[in-house]
Structures are given as C-alpha cells and as structure tokens.
Amino acid sequence: MGASPDETAVEPEAETETETNNVLERTAQRAIQDPDTVYRWLTYVGIGFFVTASLFPFYWLFVLALTPNESIAGMGVVPKGFNPGAFLEVFEVVPFHRYMLNSIAIAAFSTVIVLTVGSIAGYVFGRYEFRGRLPLLFLILVISYFPPVAFLIPLFRLFTGEVALFGISSPQLYNTPWSIVMPLSAITMPLIIFLLTTFYRQIPDGLEDAARVEGSTRIGALRRIIVPLSAPGVATAGILTFIIVYNEFFFSYLMVNGTADNWSPVLHGIFAFQGTQQVAYNLMAAASIIGVIPMAVLVMIAQERIVSGLTQGALKE
C-alpha cells in the first residue's frame, strides 16, 4: 500500500494499521472497503463449480467415446486415441435411431395427454372460483409428492394383465408405449397443472366477457382470446413435459423388455451395448451423447421461453 505521509496524516489510524499488517489482513481490509470485488470473485467461483460439475461428465463422455474400446481401461482426462467412427458404429451395432424415435414418440404422446388434461384443469383452477378449489389443488400437490416407486408393483401387475376386474383381466400394456406414457403423464401432470393455473390466472378477467359481447360464443371466446394468450404458457408446459418424459429412467427402464421393437426408449438403446462378454464403453458413451442431442437442441431453442414461462407464473402470484 503506497500511502504517502500526507494521507497517513489525514487518516492516521486506518493507514498505519494497513501498513503494518500482513497480506491476509491487508486483503481482508480491502475486502471490507470494497465488498463488490469479493462478491464478484465469489460469483466466479460459484459459476466455475457449477459449470465444471455439469459439463465435466459431458466432456468425459466425449473422451470415452473417442477412445477405442480396447484401450479404454485406466483412462486419464484426455482421449487415448481418436475414433470418431464410434458415433456411426452406434447405429450399426443396434438400431439406436429406433430407440431414439421410441423415446421421442413416448415423450410426444405424454406431452399431448398432459397438455390436454393439464390445460383444461389449469384453466378451471386459474379462472374459476368454485367450492373445493383449494382442497383439490392441495390434493394434486400431495399426489405429486408420492414417490413413483410406490406405484411400480401395482402398475406392473396392471400392465401385464394380472389384475382382473369383474372377471376381465387388464389389457396387456407391457411392451407398449402406453405402459410408460400413462404413469409418466400422471407424474408430470401436477407440475403442469400448477404451472398452467398460474399462467391462466394472469390473463386479465373480462376478456372473455368482452369477446362474448362482441359476438363470440363461449367456445369462440376461448379459441380466439384465451388460447392465443395462453399459448406461451402451454408451450412452456409442453417443452417441460417433453424433457421430463424423455429424461425419465425408472418407468422407461422397467415397463418394456428392452428391444427396439417393443417401444424401448433411449436408455435401453444405451444398455444394449452392454453384452454378457464385453461392455462397449465407447459406444455407450457415444450413444449417450447422441441421445442428449434432441434435448440440447430443444432447450437451446426454447430456453428463453422456459425461463420466462416459469418465472412469469412464479413472480405474478
């Protein structure tokens, strides 16, 4: 600290203290005087941790994918070799594109179901006052906290036709997309209902009345006024549902037998490289990266939408 004798004279106590103390104390002194610097550095450190924690696994997948499988033991942080062919081999060894299409189809079916039911429920919860509205909302909230594993065994029995009602056994849904779509739709539904409830609530009152006076029917007012205004919220809800279902592991793993013909999703495609004699780690890594691509694209396109859709609802409440 190059304090001149003049300054020392002006603030004798503070200056002499800084002069005489060690590095640690000088830094502390500076931090106290200019806390913004500290906050800025803390932000960098926090962001650094977060970025490393979330991106390192992805980088590690690249390292594994590029390393030929025979030299994959005892890996460091750089690839041992360069084998981009793994990304093509993935599709030759197993029909990985079929697994991906299965996943996309399952996510799409779920999204349609969740949006249809969720937007009707959200509209009613958001725009009408009726007896039992709050208890019903709480019930939905409570259900959303049930652990999915609790449903597994009953659902498995149901979907494999082992549950009989009035002598008619339940339909065989194991190995169909519905055995994944139905539980996942149900699990995602509460979140989407809450999201859309807050969204519909923000649409000013009286717009439907205005449209009806102007010449619309009830349904017409819904179609011309409420639907366009709620489109951003519904889009957010749809994207979220799609991502949640696409990324889901539990039911996706257990409700199908793992073959592409039986609607098995991406994760089974990745496990398909796990043979009894050998595990093709490089292909699993490559498949994982390819599997992430649809989500990465979706999030990149829609990230602004997702963030604003989520915060809009939250802030306005």
């Binding site: 000013p204 009152d205 009286g206 205005a210 449209a211 006076v213 102007e214 010449g215 029917t217 011309r224």
Partner: protein, 380 residues
Amino acid sequence: MGSVNLESVNKRYGDITAVDDIKIDVADGEFLSLVGPSGCGKSTTLEMISGLTTQSDGQIYIDDEDVTALPPKDRNIAMVFQNIALFPHMDVFDNMSYGLRIRGADDDIIDRRVDEAVEILRLDGMLDRMPSELSGGQRQRVAIGRAIVRDPEVFLMDEPLANLDAKLRVHMRTELQRIQRKLDVTAIYVTHDQEEAMTMSDRIAILNDGELQQIDPPLTCYEEPANVFVAGFIGSPSMNFIEGSIDDYRFESPITTIDAVELDEPSAVTLGIRPEDIYPADDPRADRTVGSVRASVDVIEPVGERMFVYLLPDAPGGQSTDGAVALDGDHLLMSVDPDTDIAENEELDVTFDQSSIHLFETATGNALIHGLKREPTPRS
C-alpha cells in the same frame, strides 16, 4: 338504437338476492345511469342486460324484442368494461374490428367503420399500436371504439372511468357524453359515483340492496329524493338528517322545533336538510327560513368556492357537555360562502331554508314532504 325494458328482473345467488324485482324502462336514445353503493346490484343488472349473467326471473326486452334467452352476441349490444378488457394480443385496429370480423363483415365496411370511430374518438395514427403501448385514456377510447364500430342498439358501460386518474376522468366524462349524443345511441351507465351520474345522465336509477329506490332525472333525484337513502346518496356533501317527531303540525326534535308542518298524524319523522340550505341566523336570506339551532362551530373546511362548517348543536336545555353530543352523526354540516365570518369554537344560531326541508317517515324512510310551503305562523 333501441329501448331497453326490464320487467321484474331478479337475480339470486343461493339465499342472497342480488337484484330484487327491478323494473326499468329506458327510452330510445336515453342516457341512463345505474348508481348505488358497491354491492347494490347495479353491475349485476347491467350484466343481465348484456346477457353475461342470466337472470333468475323476469324478462328483458331490447328494442321491444324479448332477449331474455339470447346469448350476449345476439343482443346487439356493446359494452365497455371497468378494466377496459382490450385484447392484449391484438393491435388497435384488430381490437376495434373484432366484432365486425367475427360477424363476417366485408373488409371495406370494416375499414370505413373503424375510420369513422377513429375520427370520433381522435385516435388517428394509433391503429397499429398494441394496447400495452397506449396510455390509460387512449385504451379507454379504443375500448369505446370497439363498442361503437358495430353500431349497437344499446351501449352498456360498467364503471368505464373508474380506473382513470381524476383529471382524465372528468375529461372522458364529457367525451362520453359527446359521443353518446353524436351517435344518438341508448346508453346505460353503471357507476358508484353520484356526481358522474348527475352530470352525464338523462335519468338516474338509484339502487340499494338490489332494490330500485328511484328513477328520475338528476335534478328531481336531488330536489325530491324518494326516500332517505336517495337523499343521503345523491349530493355531495350529503344531506343532514335530524330525527324527530310530528305532533300537532309541529316537528320536534332535541335540537330544534319547526312549526307549521303540513302533517298532523303524530309519527316519527326524519328531517333532511342539505348543507347549502342551512344559513347562519343573521344571513340576509334568513327571512325564508324556519327552525333555529344553537350550535358551536367544531371544524371549518374551506374547499375554495365553498366553506364547510361542522356544527355541534347544543343539546336540549343547553347541556352541551363534552362527549354528550360529540358523535359524528350529531354534527350538522353547513356549507357557506368562503368569505362568511365564522371562527372555530364560535357559538351561533343557524336556521333552515324552508323550501328545502325534506321530511321522511322514519319507519319506512319514504319521503313525506319536499319543502315547507305554508307561511310559517309563529306560535307564541
């Protein structure tokens, strides 16, 4: 254009009667205000005329056609809402032309009508703006424009000025009157602001607790209120009421006595007198007055062109002790010229303009007499 007739219209929500057996006839081209305190059923009445709310009982006719069972879109009405309710995702042109487009009107008709509305409402150059880019007054004008482009028979307005600031509200008041005259359209206007109703309307319908209290031209409501409620609601500041009784042509109350009342049935009555009809006893106009109240000046409020004087009448027998008559309802409010020489805590005599005294039956609240016409005959 069209007349509107409500015949014994009721609206009940469970056990609560929001609108009780209302009969109103609105003439073609008339400007009628529905006025009353919040919760009096005025908005519900308007919503039933619009068809947004279905009545529990009764018939509604627009232009002599029974519209009771018709949905809003088939009633040929237009409505301006309190919260304006412009469609946020449409620009001004789309908002204004919404009704015409939905009815499948030709593009050139739409353009012409919107242009006319833009001219009337002075909205030039705004057609491609979004509602969020407009000021409050502009939004309100667009909402009115949306209502008038369809050339409706009846123009319904539900507190359209309530969300505007005070200055703009007064301005839009005259604008609305100008537009209504120009279009010569029947208008039904809901407001809780009696001053708005007084200044704008051909007739005022005053509602309370879902019941129609009086429907008359503004000045009639002011000068000849049908009952205590109307008397207290219309006029600002509101009328003073003095509880008393009639005995032998004489009104008697603890604070004053008035002779020569044309009522002989002994009964409990309420005397109503507006603040501007109370004069100090030494006022030059005091020769046409009756009654005399000895009171002390409690508070003086100068408001510019008038001065409000809150008087505390001395209790009977001059026992004006602290706390005895200090309640708000016991104040008499007098409105005088601002240059009147009155000071706080002064004792003075005030007297009432005899032609402006209203007497109401205390039990029912109904008006008995507006103005004492006979010459006062002082009894010794």
